[in-house]
Subunit: 459 residues, 2 copies
């Protein structure tokens, strides 16, 4: 009988805790959907500030805007972390063309981030199309030398999560040009990393390490890549050349900042739960989904908790990281200072996969911890359709924390992935592509997860 | 020992069956994502045919296109089911304005489907704003008589699935005008059923039964509704009037058709699994998400199965229902003929909630059956992020089957709901709002479910 009573008490205790969590989550979602401010904040960031590549005047404006936003929200602490960042500039709009005998067919290209310029007149050379770095290496220096290498392995549409397609095609952009340089290529053209067939070239970083030989490298739109490939198939090799011209350069490093807002923990102020995205964006567009949405959702998550008068036991921080796109200097600095200041980090959530409708979260944790999270919280997220709580990874900005603070759990917010790589790093990544409710649901999911971690921990 | 062996055999048998299903689903998804034809079919339906309200010449063109499409795919049987449909026409573009003393402020409106026209000069009257039919009834005939009733209860943003928000606000459009007519109102203006704040008026059917008193009824955009409401709050009642003019009318009924394509069952040709959407659309736009996507996905589901050389044991049908939007005549006819032809229907899947990224399916079945479906199939749909297999309802077109054929299970395809009611029944529901991969993932989810039902049944 005694045992039975005890079981009942545990049972009711559990129910009551779950009911309390469920009630709090409903309040969080209501606040996000009825009083959400993320969408208007994003409008400002995209339309009034716009592109904000590290080191640019716009990046500095974004820092000032972010600090003021979180000060106006009355978070307990708002501060900057100074960090030196690379300063790469694109220069004049790039030009590219397929040269077919006397015909010159213009195609949309853009320099890859951190690439070098071509000579002022551009580069003209024969084109070698390859589907992989290995194929290029098998052809060897005798074939590659003096040529423009055209990396044209398409984004595989069969991956359900497009991030996997990006990963599978990505080596062509990340290291393809550097590997081509080793074999004496004079330039590299990379098929845009996108499942969409259109005329947007997608920029993005390419390997640039001090002492490495570099060649001018550009992205070409997927439609133009198909066209070039078709022409190469039909014509004899010497007839088809490619010409491109770009004037990008790397300037001296610039002082910049991470922007941090904190709700200081009532019980454990030195224990930290971080939620963040990156404030910098590529220079071609407004950086709406990449990663304006992550910025405004991070601030919104804290705003919601504060609006509900929730006092976290642990410190909760929104971090606007600087320089994710071409250096990760902000992420490295945050991790360095976390160790230096002897902070005890419980978890860090990164939101950098777009502001689309939430699917759930990925946890860089053991299968046992992921199973426990599912057992305890999956039911809570089910009514909000954000209940994919799966084994996953963190994100570029929070990854360095793993090296500097022990026992942290890295978490990635998982929005639906279908539309992201259509826009990623292109001129199409604008405010109008973000949906108000989807953005708000994401902020609510993050605020909910922060609340649950703050209340119950992760392990 | 014998028992143990038996268990092992069952275990391995089960595993092998699941592995076989898993393999088949992977093939279905690959076919959809690599060779999908739905997107280009939808482009044709939206751009070459366009709006196709029942009874219109475009609806007839859509019938001919749909029949030819499925004939070209070489389905075993392609045929039409004749059905008489209402023929309502909008006439000249509607005009609406808030009259504030001498000022006339034009606002976006459109006639509700099946509404009657105003007199040629329009109607001008004082406005009574209400948030519910009950509020109007409580005010009573003395207040309502001679007025234009303005139904202005907003779409509640707190519902996570927007379909629930639509349901909660919908009575204002469905029966509000008819109820206002009973109290002597001279017209009705209904806030558009949308969570988005914009300037699109949303049409949609309003109650029109023979013998019922009707008054002219129009939808007003959400932004204009807020404006009108604000002005009513600020000014004294007699100063604010509303004027609107519309010339819609109901013409004699027209002969039209359901379009049906079938892969005939090898073992049970008289047992049917139906997948369908509606071919008609409202007249304001291209009917892309409502319900062009449902049409092309239904055909695509069968095309995929045929391309994989899958021979269903039961007959599988793609049905393009006619007249979902203002009469359900096609759905009624299909159900009537199913009974008359003594068909034995296993299941019917309706796709009429947009062509957005799949979330899963809703089953109009007992909790036990839904639990069994989850136990057997949830794991199979998980890798495709379409594993919300929940208790649900069928859909307007398939609902009549419940009355005429015993033991059928109705199923609704559940795409993500966030964006649907922004576009629903407006000029913004165009091809460009549909995402190729999202559409293809939906077709693959449907083909997979059909395959599983064909192999294993539902109960």
């Amino acid at each position: 009988m005694k045992k039975l009573l005890l079981s009942a008490a545990i049972l009711f205790g559990t129910l009551s805790l779950q009911a309390q969590d469920s009630l709090m989550m409903r309040k969080i979602y209501d606040e996000a959907l009825v009083n959400g401010q993320g969408y208007e904040n994003l409008r400002y960031l995209c339309k009034k500030i716009g592109p904000r590549l590290s080191g640019s005047p716009n990046a500095q404006k974004a820092v000032e805007w972010g600090k003021k936003l979180m000060e106006d929200y009355g978070f307990d602490r708002v501060y900057l972390q100074e960090v030196m960042v690379p300063h790469w500039v694109r220069g004049a709009k790039e030009q590219g063309a397929i040269i077919d005998g006397n015909k010159k067919i213009s195609v949309p290209i853009c320099a890859l981030g951190m690439s070098i310029a071509t000579p002022a007149a551009g580069i003209t050379a024969n084109v070698i199309e390859v589907k992989s770095i290995k194929e290029m290496q098998d052809l060897g220096e005798s074939v590659i030398k003096g040529k423009i290498v055209f990396f044209n392995r398409p984004f595989d549409p069969r991956y359900i999560e497009t991030g996997q397609g990006y990963g599978a095609a990505g080596d062509q952009r990340f290291v393809g040009p550097a590997e081509a340089a080793k074999l004496g290529a004079v330039g590299a053209i990379v098929r845009s990393l996108s499942p969409a067939l259109d005329n947007y070239p997608h920029t993005g970083g390419t390997l640039s390490e001090p002492g490495t030989k570099m060649i001018p490298a550009a992205a070409i739109s997927t439609m133009a890549a198909d066209k070039l490939s078709g022409m190469l198939r039909l014509r004899k090799l010497p007839l088809i050349k490619f010409w491109f011209k770009q004037s990008c350069q790397t300037l001296p490093e610039v002082k910049s900042y991470n922007v941090i807002g904190e709700l200081t923990g009532t019980d454990y102020p030195k224990k930290v739960i971080t939620v963040g995205g990156h404030l910098d964006s590529w220079d071609l567009a407004e950086g709406a989904h990449d990663d304006g949405t992550g910025i405004v959702q991070s601030a919104e998550a804290l705003r919601i908790l504060k609006a509900l008068n929730y006092k976290p036991k642990n410190s909760v921080r929104a971090v606007f990281f600087m320089n994710e796109e071409n250096g990760t200097r902000g992420g490295l600095k945050y991790a360095e200072l976390a160790a230096k200041n002897k902070e005890d980090h419980i978890a860090a959530i990164e939101t950098d996969e777009g502001g689309f409708v939430p699917r759930g979260f990925g946890f860089d944790a053991s299968p046992e911890v992921v199973a426990k999270i599912n057992k305890n919280w999956k039911k809570l997220f089910e009514p909000y359709e954000a209940d994919r709580l799966v084994k996953g990874e963190g994100g570029t900005d929070i990854e360095p924390l793993k090296e500097t603070v022990p026992n942290i759990t890295l978490i990635s917010f998982l929005p639906d992935s279908q539309r992201y790589f259509d826009l990623h790093h292109t001129a199409a990544d604008v405010f109008e592509k973000v949906h108000k409710r989807e953005l708000e649901l994401g902020a609510a999911a993050m605020a909910s997860l922060i609340y649950l971690i703050d209340q119950h921990g992760l392990k």
